[in-house]
């Protein structure tokens, strides 16, 4: 055998990770091979802890170490606003901005008949349970501006509005600080079509 089997298996496993091609997987595996055993153990333990200690918040389905995540537990957050996102990684992205002080709801995906994702395979029922129990004034839809994100936003808006809750969506369009002339044409085109009054 040209490559020792343990190395082959490690490469195989690493290349299953998103964004990792075979070449990168090989480089990572060889790096691990050369590393100190303590470093390797630290890496292994951190991955194990990640899987064992992290769970999903029972209210918003954000990643958490407890039954409730830090955001849901916090008394400083505005509990009348919920921002709906696709994945937990979107929570991280919005939190980094420090511009939002409300709660979240992680859907766990978007509607896609082609891949068989229907409302029941998302945390949609759980969202409406929250709307019934809690006093919510506003829902912010922050799904990706692609085909499936759009349809999911339309699906949710249509069902939330009759409850008398204000539904908004995050604006999409031109990047801040960038000159109009540097934005790509389709982005500007879209921004013109979806212009708002001032």
């Amino acid at each position: 055998m040209l490559i020792a089997e343990p190395l082959q298996i490690a490469i195989e496993e690493l290349s299953k990770l998103p964004g990792i091609g075979r070449k990168t997987a090989q480089r990572l595996a060889l790096h691990v091979l050369k590393s100190d055993i303590n470093n390797v153990n630290n890496l292994l333990n951190s991955l194990k802890d990640l899987k064992e200690k992290i769970k999903f918040c029972k209210d918003c389905f954000n990643i958490s170490t407890d039954d409730l995540c830090d955001i849901c537990k916090s008394v400083k957050r505005d509990r009348t606003v919920i921002c709906v996102v696709e994945e937990a990684s979107d929570v991280i992205a919005i939190e980094k901005t420090n511009e939002y002080n409300g709660l979240y709801h992680v859907l766990g995906g978007v509607l896609s008949p082609l891949s068989g994702t229907d409302p029941e395979s998302l945390k949609i029922k759980e969202l409406f349970d929250r709307l019934e129990k809690e006093k919510i004034n506003e829902i912010i839809l922050a799904l990706n501006p692609d085909t499936e994100g759009e349809a999911t936003s339309l699906f949710l808006a249509k069902r939330i509005k009759p409850l008398g809750i204000n539904v908004t969506r995050i604006a999409r369009g031109l990047p801040i600080g960038g000159d109009l002339e540097f934005a790509d044409e389709a982005t500007i085109g879209r921004a013109v079509i979806n212009r708002s009054s001032i």
């Binding site: 509607l111 896609s112 008949p113 082609l114 229907d118 409302p119 029941e120 692609d146 085909t147 499936e148 759009e150 349809a151 999911t152 339309l154 699906f155 249509k158 790509d184 044409e185 389709a186 500007i188 085109g189 879209r190 079509i193």
Partner: protein, 370 residues
């Protein structure tokens, strides 16, 4: 924009060819299978990174070789050197503009606009409504990136919605039906934008078509592209009309498990003297219409993007009588630079030429200046 020269290495029949072009008309003459269309093909590759007739990169490599390379020297305001090569073994196509590697072909498209007039234009006037939509969409897309993006999104929505409808047809369940409204609304949003773009485009383009037709044909035939969306031509009515159609056809769509309404079913009717070309047009009228459409596209794009596209004309003169060949060669003078293939010299003596035009003879993959 002008293409100054090209270099072909192992590209189909051309083992190694260097061609210098005229800023005006370039007549490329040669028998069938001698490699004259290959020259147009290579120019098309440089402009779009793709083959003209939809063949694979692999098929363009010379039979005995392992790779091909095309180099082109464009001149607009500045000089741009484009290099495209394809290597069999790695199945990799590399694109370079001014020695900088380009990783997304979308970065090239639109930079070197191109208009082609070929035998396959036959389908535009004779073919199905889909062939005409394809033509219209390609012209709008080349001048509006926004349109292209909306079109892509609309097509994705169609696929999702069609999948949902066929699932509902298979097994009717409240969970499935519940989603239909959201997908219909998404279709309505993107679809209405497409129709608005198309209405505005046809309105403008008709002027170009009748101008081009006059230049290709002497007689006073009046061409026209007729387009409406479920009977409406008014931009502010479109969304409501579309919505009405979706509501009316909802049960039918569920029963048949497919999308039945929307701009993907649009028909563009080509009209000549008030009559539908497809039903009543003669062979000659079809041909003239096809030629007029491409000239119209050229001048429309030129006005919109403020840049003269490369004009490629493959084997069109052979089919024309000497009178029209002469007329078109006069009109070509207004284009600026163009590349025209011909199988023989039958019509050549009738063409309007000047000393700046170039005649290139191609035989067995080698080019000779006549």
């Amino acid at each position: 924009m002008i293409l100054k020269s090209i270099y072909l290495k192992n590209f189909r029949l051309h083992k190694s060819s260097v061609l210098e072009f005229s800023d005006e008309l370039n007549y490329i003459v040669g028998g069938n299978g001698q490699g004259k269309t290959t020259i147009l093909e290579s120019i098309y590759y440089l402009c779009t990174t793709k083959s003209l007739n939809g063949s694979s990169d692999y098929e363009s490599v010379n039979f005995n070789e392992e790779f091909f390379e095309i180099k082109g020297k464009f001149f607009d305001l500045t000089e741009n050197n484009v290099v495209i090569n394809f290597i069999n073994e790695s199945k990799r196509k590399n694109i370079y503009i001014d020695e900088k590697q380009i990783y997304k072909s979308s970065e090239v498209i639109g930079k070197f606009p191109v208009v082609t007039l070929t035998q396959s234009d036959h389908a535009v006037t004779f073919g199905s409504p889909g062939d005409r939509r394809k033509f219209i969409d390609s012209v709008i897309s080349q001048t509006s990136e926004t349109y292209l993006k909306i079109l892509i999104e609309y097509n994705k929505t169609l696929k999702q919605r069609s999948s949902l409808l066929s699932q509902i047809k298979e097994r009717y369940s409240p969970v499935l039906v519940d989603q239909l409204d959201a997908w219909s609304e998404a279709l309505l949003k993107n679809g209405s934008e497409i129709v608005k773009h198309r209405l505005k485009f046809i309105d403008e383009f008709n002027v170009y078509v009748s101008e081009a037709y006059k230049n290709v044909m002497e007689e006073s035939e009046i061409p026209f592209i007729d387009y409406d969306f479920y009977g409406s031509k008014k931009v502010d009515e479109i969304k409501d009309r579309f919505n009405e159609e979706l509501t009316t056809n909802r049960n039918d769509e569920i029963r048949r498990g497919t999308n039945l309404v929307g701009p993907h079913r649009d028909e563009f009717q080509f009209i000549l003297n008030g009559k539908e070309l497809r039903k009543y047009g003669s062979q000659g009228q079809h041909k003239t219409f096809q030629i007029a459409l491409r000239f119209a596209q050229f001048f429309y794009m030129k006005d919109k993007i403020q840049k003269s596209p490369i004009f490629l004309m493959d084997d069109v003169f052979g089919e024309l009588d000497s009178y029209r060949a002469k007329k078109i060669s006069h009109y070509l003078k207004e284009i600026g630079q163009a590349f025209i293939t011909m199988t023989d010299f039958t019509n050549y003596k009738f063409l309007a030429r000047n000393e700046k035009d170039k005649l290139i003879e191609v035989s067995e993959g080698k080019a000779v200046y006549a």
